[in-house]
């Protein structure tokens, strides 16, 4: 029996190690270790052995069983690995094939800039207010200290909706200064974004509809120096840490003193180039200390409160930001144009 066992062992192990599929391996397991398997068959003959031989053969048989089991397990792992490897190889992809990209829409370049500016002002404690585009001339002009004969009031400059020139399309976001002052008590930090209208023919730099932002600060003891501080902070937030600004005198009916804020030309650093038209500076916005008449007309005591306001054209800001050369592109809405600003 000894030799029977060792012969069986030899054959079984070589068959097992030669098996190359899980199925073949399983059939070998059944063949040798199964209930009707060859090793089992040999073990059944053990009853005919002497008491001395039995434990010896028993040990041999058990050892053989363990050997076969170990060989099966060893080979099973190898076969599985091979099978997996084959499968993985067959699943290989050409990773350079095109992706399935989800379609994500884009923001209009103006909105990108508007959202950024909104964030800056919200960070500085401003609330965002929306106002009517169809407005009364009272708010658009009178309450902003615009003289009754001011050229901007002409029908050649402003869109009117009635023959008495009482209602119009707002020509700037400034009427919201009066509307906010009427409804919000100081301290006020208000920012307004929106559409404005002026009677300009469409060309590369003009549009009868455009966007503006307005800022208004009213509190006790607000000064021109405060205006400089916050507007400079804004420019830094928009254009980066090393942004240089300058404030130069200007004129608006609703502010006094008035100014325009320029930023140092990013292209030439102030030397003068095409972008800044040789000036070294680029005009960013108009601002000024609120004319006390404005406060008074809106029911705020100019003896107690003072403030400052500013206004900025948003098309120009967006066009400068993205180097867009023609204003008409902004309202043409060609998807190829829009998708440039992902």
């Amino acid at each position: 029996m000894k030799s029977q066992l060792s012969k069986l062992g030899e054959i079984a192990l070589s068959e097992i190690m030669g098996a190359d599929t899980p199925e073949l391996l399983e059939s070998l397991r059944v063949k040798y270790l199964g209930k009707k398997g060859e090793l089992t068959a040999i073990l059944r003959q053990m009853s005919g052995l002497s008491a001395e031989e039995r434990p010896i053969i028993g040990t041999l048989a058990n050892n053989l069983r363990e050997k076969i089991e170990a060989a099966i397990e060893e080979n099973r792992a190898a076969i599985n690995a091979a099978v997996l490897q084959k499968k993985l190889r067959s699943e290989a992809l050409d990773v350079t094939m095109p992706a399935t990209e989800p379609i994500i829409g884009v923001r209009h370049p103006m909105s990108i800039v508007v959202d950024e500016i909104k964030d800056i002002f919200i960070g500085m404690g401003f609330r965002i207010y929306d106002g009517p585009e169809i407005e009364m001339s009272t708010y658009n002009f009178d309450r902003l200290n615009t003289p009754a004969t001011h050229p901007a009031r002409e029908w050649t400059d402003t869109f009117y909706l009635d023959n008495e020139s009482k209602t119009l399309l707002r020509t700037h976001t400034s009427p919201m200064q009066a509307r906010v002052m009427e409804t919000v008590s100081p301290p006020i930090r208000a920012a307004v974004f929106g559409r404005c209208y002026r009677k300009d023919e469409v060309d590369a730099t003009h549009s009868p509809m455009f966007h503006q932002m307005e800022g208004l600060v009213i509190d006790e003891g607000i000064t021109f120096a405060d205006l400089k501080t916050l507007l400079h902070d804004m420019a830094v937030a928009m254009y980066g840490e090393n942004t240089a600004t300058r404030f130069r005198p200007h004129h608006f009916p609703f502010t006094e003193p008035s100014c325009e804020m320029d930023v140092l030309c990013h292209e030439c650093g102030g030397k003068g180039c095409r972008v800044c038209k040789g000036e070294g500076w680029i005009e960013l916005l108009g601002a000024g200390v609120c004319n006390p008449r404005i406060l008074e007309m809106s029911g705020i005591d100019p003896e107690k409160y003072s403030g400052w306001a500013f206004g900025m054209g948003l098309e120009r800001a967006a066009m400068r930001r993205f180097k867009i050369s023609d204003l008409r592109l902004m309202f043409d809405n060609d998807i190829r144009f829009l998708e440039m600003f992902k």
């Binding site: 919200i122 404690g125 965002i128 929306d130 169809i134 301290p187 000064t223 021109f224 400079h232 998807i335």
Partner: protein, 797 residues
């Protein structure tokens, strides 16, 4: 306003050599007179010098050319071949040497002309960029012969006035006083801390009395507060001297003749426009300042017949208009070669009236553009005297004694409070009152203790806000940039942020983009023809939109009452650009008329798409938008009567009773109106209605503790049964265990009888307190099937 630096030097000692262009522009800009550009007149002309013709011989190979020699002060005469005929030996001429550059970029090179080397060229005035106006004595067909002595070899630019630099200012409308050399000189004097050299015109008496010849009446003192005039007789019309021609030219004004040039020069200096009438043409010596009468016509100096309106101010003689007041004179009283006596007008007109007249006649002149911004009425007399002084200086005529000055209501002096503490409080500065007094005095204010007398030319200073006005004056002279920033004001007493509505708007934009829609911005105005294009019925309320009474054109005359036209136009345009798949959203307003003349401005979120899209993907986007605002259980009602949409592919979307949106495929006829033959889709979403049905803030609900059982059923039902009907029936009959029900298939065709369809539903069943048994699920499904059969003729497949 163009300012010649040479002319500026008459009033302030500020030569170019001391303050260069860049520093001048910078300093003036920062003190409030913004410099737009600086032009160097000689910029492109180099290498042209004064030379004397020393020899002249016929060209041996030409019947008209001359071979000349010219001394240009270099010790060796140049040999120059010329075709000009007007020169002679001894003449001083402009010699362009080898390598010289002329006006227009022409470069002169030493070269042979018909075999003889020419070492340069004699120039005509046009080759130097000038005209007969600058050189009235020159031969227009020949070379320029200088009629004064100059040093040989001297740069021609300094000889003919091209060595000047001209500064162009952007003057803000409040500072009309700076539309003059004196006004800008005053600003420059304060800016550069130099004395201002003002000149008082001096006239010698030449007898006579203007009042004997001229009578002036102002009929309308509102439009003409002051009219001042003098008379010059024995006028000798001639070209102006070189200095005057050069100064006018540099300032952008064409020299004409001495009298006209004098009026223009005085306008430049003082900012006071003047006019000269030929006195012989002023009938009866009568000047009447009045509004035009109905039907009056005047041919102005530019040769155009002008039909005058009755709101226009005219200068008239006893019979007819002879000038449009403050705008332009008439041909009927023009100064011409044989004019013997001149009436000089120096008047003050109402700015608004001048502006409207000039606009109506489409005739904006140097004079009108100054008047329309307002002029100091005190200027009329001094400007008039200056003109007469120049007449005497130029020997252009004899000035009669006496000034006729009609000034019914002299403008009172303005005195305002001067409180340095207030000024510092407005500016947030610490400027000494000495500095303030000094700056204001140099600007012409007269400070007397706590009062300041405002100079008469400062029409912008108002008694309504005197402290702010003075603060601006002080600040700009002190320097805006020297006012220190105030760090303490950085903190805000107000909490910043978006309102709820604004946040929702922002969120919806994000959802639109995640659904593949890109943002567009469209005009708020539409054409009235748009209503037809989207097939609105004649009675549609949308047609009653807010109209602009003075639109740019019919196409932009309506404030939109629907966003559909803007969206369809944009889609159509994209398609014409051959963009294949396009999805767009527009978050804009519509404008609904209101009784008070204003409008309800409703925010509409419009989606639009064509290409790789269909009804259900559009519906998906609408649903995603609603779900972002936690609006669920939407109800879709088929719409077949909206003329803009496909009658079988459109729906209204309701949340309870609130109409939130209309969506669908655009009606093929509407698409055709926009030139589109493919399917276009659009959704018009009422943002306000959406916000009104917005769901509550979500709260945590425990996750289910017991598993769900899924059961699929397929039924055959008549094909007109809607998904909504069947699902509602299932939900109603499924009992409390039915957690949700979804459709996973809808099929018509082989195996299904004609007129029927198969619908397959997936039912999810769950109990809160136990694991369901199969029998529970069977009961539920049976109840559902029973109800479907009874109510909808839908039977298990």
């Amino acid at each position: 306003m163009k300012l010649s630096r040479a002319l500026l030097c008459d009033y302030i000692d500020l030569p170019l050599s001391e303050v260069g262009d860049r520093s001048f522009a910078e300093a003036m800009t920062m003190s409030g007179s913004k410099v737009e550009a600086t032009e160097i007149l000689s910029d492109r002309i180099t290498g042209v010098v004064v030379g004397r013709i020393t020899g002249m011989e016929k060209h041996p190979d030409s019947d008209h050319m001359w071979v000349c020699t010219a001394d240009v002060g270099e010790g060796r005469d140049l040999s120059i071949v010329t075709g000009a005929q007007n020169q002679k030996i001894g003449d001083l001429v402009a010699v362009a040497k080898d390598g010289a550059k002329l006006h227009g970029g022409l470069e002169i090179k030493k070269a042979p002309l018909r075999g003889i080397i020419s070492e340069g060229m004699f120039c005509s005035f046009s080759e130097l960029g000038q005209s007969l106006h600058e050189h009235p004595y020159a031969d227009p067909d020949g070379i320029l012969i200088l009629n004064e002595e100059f040093n040989l070899g001297e740069d021609i630019c300094s000889v003919i006035g091209l060595d000047d630099h001209v500064v162009e200012f952007e003057i803000t409308p409040n500072r009309s006083d700076c539309l003059s050399v004196i006004g800008l000189a005053r600003e420059a004097a304060v800016t550069f801390n130099k004395p201002l050299k003002l000149h008082t015109p001096l006239l010698r008496s030449e007898g006579g009395n203007a009042a004997d010849l001229v009578d002036i009446t102002i009929d309308d003192p509102t439009l003409c507060p002051r009219y001042t005039a003098r008379v010059v007789k024995n006028v000798k019309i001639a070209p102006s001297p070189r200095w005057l021609r050069e100064k006018l030219s540099a300032s952008g004004i064409r020299p004409i003749n001495n009298i006209v040039d004098i009026t223009n020069f005085v306008m430049l200096e003082y900012g006071q426009p003047m006019h000269a009438f030929d006195l012989a043409c002023v009938k009866d010596g009568q000047i009447i300042v009045r509004r035009a009468k109905e039907g009056e016509v005047l041919k102005t100096l530019d040769g155009t017949e002008r039909n005058l309106r009755t709101d226009m101010l005219c200068i008239c003689d006893s019979e007819r208009p002879i000038a449009v007041g403050g705008v332009m004179g008439g041909e009927n009283s023009e100064i011409i070669g044989d004019t013997a006596a001149v009436l000089f007008e120096s008047a003050n007109f109402d700015g608004t009236s001048i502006r409207r007249t000039a606009a109506a006649l489409n005739m904006r002149t140097d004079a009108s553009s100054r008047f329309e911004k307002g002029i100091d009425p005190n200027l009329t007399e001094i400007a008039l005297n200056r003109a007469c002084e120049l007449v005497q200086m130029l020997s252009a005529g004899e000035v009669l004694d006496g000034t006729i000055d009609v000034y019914p209501e002299p403008k009172p002096e303005l005195i305002i409070p001067f409180v340095p503490e207030k000024i510092n409080a407005i500016l947030g500065s610490d400027i000494s009152s000495e500095f303030m007094c000094d700056a204001l005095s140099r600007l012409g204010f007269i400070i007397d203790g706590s009062n300041a007398k405002v100079p008469s030319w400062r029409l912008d200073i108002s008694p309504l806000h005197p402290h702010n006005d003075l603060a601006e004056e002080v600040a700009r002279i002190y320097g805006y940039d020297r006012i220190k920033s105030s760090a303490k004001r950085r903190e805000s007493a107000v909490r910043g942020g978006l309102s709820d509505v604004q946040s929702a708007e922002k969120l919806l934009g994000t959802v639109c983009r995640s659904c593949g829609y890109s943002e567009i911005i469209t005009y708020s105005f539409i054409s009235p023809s748009s209503f037809d294009k989207i097939r609105l019925s004649e009675e549609s309320k949308l047609r009653d939109c807010v109209r602009i009474l003075n639109p740019l054109g019919e196409d932009t005359s309506c404030m939109r009452s629907s966003t559909l036209p803007s969206m369809l136009e944009t889609l159509a345009r994209n398609r014409s650009y051959r963009n294949l798949n396009v999805r767009l959203y527009d978050f804009g307003r519509i404008y609904k008329k209101r009784d008070d003349g204003l409008a309800d401005e409703k925010q509409i979120l419009t989606l639009g798409a064509y290409g790789d899209t269909d009804f259900y993907s559009l519906k998906g986007a609408v649903q995603a938008l609603c779900s972002a605002l936690r609006i669920s259980d939407l109800r879709y009602v088929a719409v077949s009567d909206n003329p803009s949409y496909h009658p079988g592919r459109a729906a209204k979307v309701y949340k309870d009773d609130a109409l939130i949106a209309v969506l669908g495929q655009i009606h093929p006829l509407v698409a055709a109106n926009y030139g589109v033959s493919d399917a276009m889709y659009a959704a018009e979403i009422d943002f306000e209605a959406m916000l009104g049905t917005r769901g509550n803030e979500p709260l945590y609900v425990p996750l289910p503790a017991y598993p769900a059982i899924l059961r699929d059923i397929a039924v055959i039902c008549p094909e007109d049964k809607t998904a909504y009907e069947l699902v509602s029936c299932i939900k109603a009959s499924g009992g409390t265990l039915l957690e949700s029900c979804s459709i996973f298939d809808c099929y018509k065709g082989t195996g299904i009888p004609e007129g029927f369809k198969s619908m397959a539903f997936s039912l999810k069943l769950r109990a809160k307190d136990r694991t369901l048994k199969d029998s529970d699920a069977d009961d539920c499904v049976n109840a559902v099937l029973k109800a479907l059969a009874a109510l909808h003729d839908a039977h298990l497949r």
